[in-house]
């Protein structure tokens, strides 16, 4: 597997990114904020409204460094994408299968199977690690229900039925979510998933984690020559990276949800790191966002053994591994797409 390089997060508003030799220079007005060699970078991710020189965009596109612009609150705005990798054969196969709802269902099924299997395993892990803190029988019951959904999902031939099963399984899983918050219960409670805007602390954290993950998955897909915008479970909608959302399904729980729970349970993020607007919208403060991003970056460096490839990689490379496996399936090397199944 290739090496995982660093991601540069730029959070100072009104900063400007420019290319200088083989390095990126970040300035704000007259202030020189930093300078990093490009060859160490895998991605550059900016928050807030800042500029980047065309020369830098050019250099990033050439070197396969993804350059992403997010709003201050972490909403995706734009990404600099270089020349699509030349693999037209792969992309045509991707489109052809996407046009067939039958074929789409076969691939989508595996995304959702892994999503539910991973959710189930998150619950199982909780019962094993914190039997004194959570309602074990309730968790076991929901885990058993998810097992039943898994059986059904494997048989599904139809996208609508699949979406139905996914929704029901997600309801069961999120019913346990609040119980997995073991610390700082006054500041963090989960009732239901909400966004646009998130109206409680935990939804603000989940939204940011999902955005960062979506950005990584999009970049990984495009890196192996797939079109991040043409999906199987998520159908085409202008401007939506449907395939990235598809592949993300199986990674949401194991990467984003667990990360958010850890931030709270280890008190890395506290109630002080949030700011509530008059309308109830909740934002992370600059400090809070910095803590979030640093922890996210460290998390990416943690090792695991990929369950299908049986190869030691970092968590940060999981989206890349899945993108490659999907591409190899579409090109006919694998009879089915092997999703990421965590245990």
């Amino acid at each position: 597997m290739r090496k995982l390089l660093n991601t540069l997060f730029v959070t100072t508003p009104n900063s400007y990114l420019a290319l200088k030799g083989e390095t990126i220079v970040v300035t704000a007005g007259e202030d020189h904020l930093g300078q990093v060699p490009l060859h160490n970078l895998e991605a550059i991710c900016t928050f807030g409204y800042m500029g980047a020189s065309p020369k830098l965009m050019h250099a990033c596109a050439e070197r396969n460094i993804s350059l992403t612009f997010l709003s201050t609150s972490g909403k995706f705005l734009a990404r600099v994408v270089g020349e699509s990798k030349g693999n037209v054969v792969l992309r045509k196969t991707q489109y052809r299968l996407s046009d067939s709802t039958n074929e789409s269902a076969k691939i989508a099924r595996n995304f959702i199977f892994a999503k539910v299997a991973n959710q189930k395993w998150i619950l199982e892990r909780m019962t094993r690690d914190y039997p004194m803190r959570i309602d074990v029988p309730a968790f076991k019951k929901i885990s058993a229900t998810l097992s039943e959904y898994l059986q059904e999902i494997l048989m599904v031939q139809d996208l609508e039925i699949l979406r139905g099963l996914e929704g029901q399984a997600a309801n069961h899983y999120f019913r346990c979510f609040d119980q997995m918050i073991l610390q700082q219960k006054d500041d963090f409670f989960f009732k239901t998933r909400n966004r646009r805007p998130p109206t409680d602390n935990i939804n603000a954290l989940l939204s940011l984690a999902y955005t960062l993950l979506a950005k990584d998955v999009s970049a990984a897909l495009e890196n192996v020559g797939l079109d991040a915008y043409v999906g199987y479970l998520h159908r085409d909608r202008p401007g939506r990276a449907s395939l990235a959302l598809d592949v993300m399904e199986e990674l949401r729980g194991v990467i984003a949800d667990r990360f958010v729970l850890k931030l709270i349970n280890k008190k890395i993020i506290t109630g002080k790191d949030f700011f509530a607007k008059e309308n109830g919208a909740v934002l992370l403060t600059d400090e809070g966002r910095e803590k979030f991003i640093n922890a996210w970056r460290e998390r990416k460096q943690e090792p695991l053994t990929h369950p299908y490839l049986k190869e030691k990689i970092n968590w940060g490379l999981v989206p890349h591994a899945q993108a490659m496996l999907l591409a190899r399936h579409l090109r006919g090397d694998l009879e089915e797409y092997p999703p990421f199944l965590w245990k």
Partner: protein, 216 residues
Amino acid sequence: MENNEDNYLMLSGIQHFRFCQRQWALIHIEQQWAENVKTIEGQHIHEKADQPFIREKRHNKLIVRAMQVRSHELKTTGICDVVEFIEDEQGIELINEEGKYIPVPVEYKRGKPKAGQEDIVQLVAQAMCLEEMFVCDVPKAYLFYDEIKRRVEVEITNELRDEVRFIFKQMYNYYDRRHTPKVKPGKHCKSCSLENLCLPTLIDSTPVRQYMERFL
């Protein structure tokens, strides 16, 4: 389609194909590429040869660099690092040159002479292009290896010519179907820069269905 050089396969691809059919397909059909130390070294060595505007005359030799060649028979186009035209009574006449010459391709390679034939078939294909373009015989050619700083002579035999024809036929067979052959993993995977794109280990991995059913 016929005789349209735009649709011809790249000559250098024969080296990839002889080394590993899947490597060739990943590069030439799927347009995938990755660098490693070896490919960078190779580029560096070719910088020397890749100077199309330098032309040298030494005694009985005319040395030309980065010469574009093609063969309608093989349906391939490519570039010879160096072609030496050696004065020879048995040779052919060249425009703007006195005397008669035999073309001799020289291909620059990193490392040492290899156990496999991949460098040789590439050189033979170049020789066949020159034979077709100059309407002459090219009886020998050279591989220059950077590590030993010496050239190795290769005799262009009819067996080798036939093998090159056969390989191009196979290449076109895959190319027309846009088919990437399955992995045949081996020691050669270790020196392949595409190892991480090819995933040679997939060949002996568990069937996906079985892998998923373990989680039921």
